[in-house]
Symmetry: C2
Subunit: 344 residues, 2 copies
């Protein structure tokens, strides 16, 4: 058996990027034996700049460097201080770009430029970064098609939960009347704790921040924008709707009171931050808002580390998927499945 060589470039070496580097080490043998390919890391970019080596950077070296609090630019012999990611992409000669830099929903940069550059060079792209997809999905997909390469993003919508994959591949021949999802772990954790422990929103948020579950600036999560981002990507990729954030009614969880959660519980319900797309006329209505659902609903009992989706279809009934133990590793695992789908 011949083993195919795949040259990859990684942009973003935060928690997800580093988890992916670790997977490159841990999964090298499985990829070679079961899927017939080997990855070589020919480039890496982070905030410090970039590092390049056509012969292959060693993921272990990068992980040590990052563990020591230093950036790619500091890598002996290969570091390039200040090199922006799109220049790395132009210079590294990769076959596939892994985009794991932070989501920017204002203008999608620098991820949008990085992905456009990669597609322009006929590189496949696997993106966990939501910004470029939320802002420019139809444009990026058209570019990928025109260039004859793949743009995959299953890690960008609820970790390893196969939200996009079920919608694109298992519902063939169906009409989707409605989809509902719980896509944001921070708000799900806060609502679970408010309901279970009787904590106020402010206390539950402060606790989640102290544990590193919520960010210091929690706006993106708490106000529903992260869930809305994922809904926009699903609406584009599964429902074929060229929508953006402006098409989603968004309400976060700041206004959810303990009393309401407790009343819901007493009535056999739960309040969850639900993202929905519901058929209405010729199109769909998109919304993210705290919603009361009965405990018999497949998403009502999701615990803090779970995310899930349910599709309501005409000829396949309802299909729900719930992914548990979600976190940085499972998001990197979802990037890996996209890589295998392209290269394997």
């Amino acid at each position: 058996m011949t083993v195919k060589q795949v040259r990859v470039a990684l942009v973003g070496a935060g928690n997800i990027g580093r988890a992916f580097l670790q997977l490159m080490l841990d999964k090298a043998e499985l990829l070679r034996q079961r899927h017939g390919f080997e990855m070589t890391l020919v480039g890496l970019a982070d905030r410090s700049g970039a590092a390049l080596d056509p012969a292959g950077l060693r993921p272990a070296d990068i992980l040590s460097l990052k563990a020591a609090g230093r950036g790619a630019a500091a890598l002996p012999a290969h570091g390039q201080p200040g090199m922006p990611p799109d220049e790395l992409v132009r210079r590294c000669g990769a076959d596939l770009l892994l985009e794991a830099s932070p989501t920017n929903i204002v203008d999608g940069q620098p991820g949008l430029r990085t992905i456009e550059t990669a597609l322009g060079l006929k590189m496949h792209v696997v993106s966990a970064n939501k910004g470029p997809l939320v802002l420019a999905y139809p444009h990026l997909m058209a570019l990928a098609r025109q260039q004859g390469v793949a743009l995959k993003h299953s890690a960008a919508v609820a970790g390893s939960c196969p939200t996009v994959n079920i919608g694109q591949r298992d519902l063939l021949g169906c009409q989707v009347a409605r989809l509902e999802g719980i896509f944001n772990m921070t708000t799900n954790t806060i609502l679970c704790r408010m309901a279970e422990k009787g904590l106020s929103f402010d206390v539950a948020l402060a606790q989640a921040q102290a544990e590193g579950i919520a960010e210091a600036d929690p706006t993106l999560d708490i106000d529903g924008w992260d869930a809305a981002n994922k809904l926009v990507i699903l609406a584009n990729s599964v429902l074929g709707l060229p929508v953006t954030l402006a098409d989603v009614e968004v309400e976060g969880i700041r206004g959810v009171r303990i009393e309401a959660l407790q009343r819901a519980q007493a009535e056999g319900s739960a309040i969850k931050l639900l993202a929905t797309a519901a058929q209405a006329g010729d199109g769909y209505k998109l919304a993210v808002r705290p919603t009361t659902i009965p405990l018999t609903h497949p998403l009502a009992r999701l615990t803090a580390d779970q995310m899930g989706i349910i599709y309501y279809t005409d000829v396949q009934g309802t299909i729900a998927a719930v992914a548990g133990q979600q976190g940085v590793l499972t998001t990197a695992g979802a990037m890996l499945r996209d890589v295998v789908a392209i290269c394997g």
Copy 2:
């Protein structure tokens, strides 16, 4: 846009076959517009024999005939009394065979011969029939590969629940430590009713038989063989294990007592007929048996019309899928998704 013509032959015109014929009518426009192909039914076989027409049989005619209690052989001008399905396959010139005849787990016939004949003629095959897959999975897959055609069977393992698809396509790069599934609706319905209504096994079974949910001879379902069939297909198709029914420890639900169900309920658990594959040494242990699971388990609250699966993986956490409103239509819907995956 050019519309591709796909000639299909259907073997089996029971509940599932007829639901598929109805879908051919209801979904014609969606298939043409969204997926760019049209199906023409060039042959049909049932117990009475077959009917052939290279110009296309009309699904509506077949449905009327069946509604009148008559078989394909009685179709004016095109009926062929007594023609066996493999001869239909040889003579009809189809591009794709739809196999929806009843499961025979003794020797897989006549489905096995029908599928082998179709693959030998380089026809794609979509099978909802479990028998041939349970008995000869590696052989049939090797034949399909050698002939350069597809053999798909997502409807054979738990209706529209994407059990096989998630395993084959979403867990790429993962190691599956364990899978658990509830794959049989009859036993799930009986156990649900025993628990909810305090019915004995005998009464719940008789009730299910009176409603047409359980068959007159319920052995295949009640004794766990239907669930075991599905587990064997999953073990072959997802885990790559060339196993057969002889490799599965099978125990049905005849021995489940109301008292045990009630005790489980009181302890926050449920008893379900669970099919499991669990990593053990270099291989997997396969079993189907009544199993006590906590109510926090993603499959513990499945209602009578639901089926589900959970995969425990190393780098994607747990992934559970639950399909609801399952029945004849959703199984036909799953066959349709396989057809679209092949032809679309």
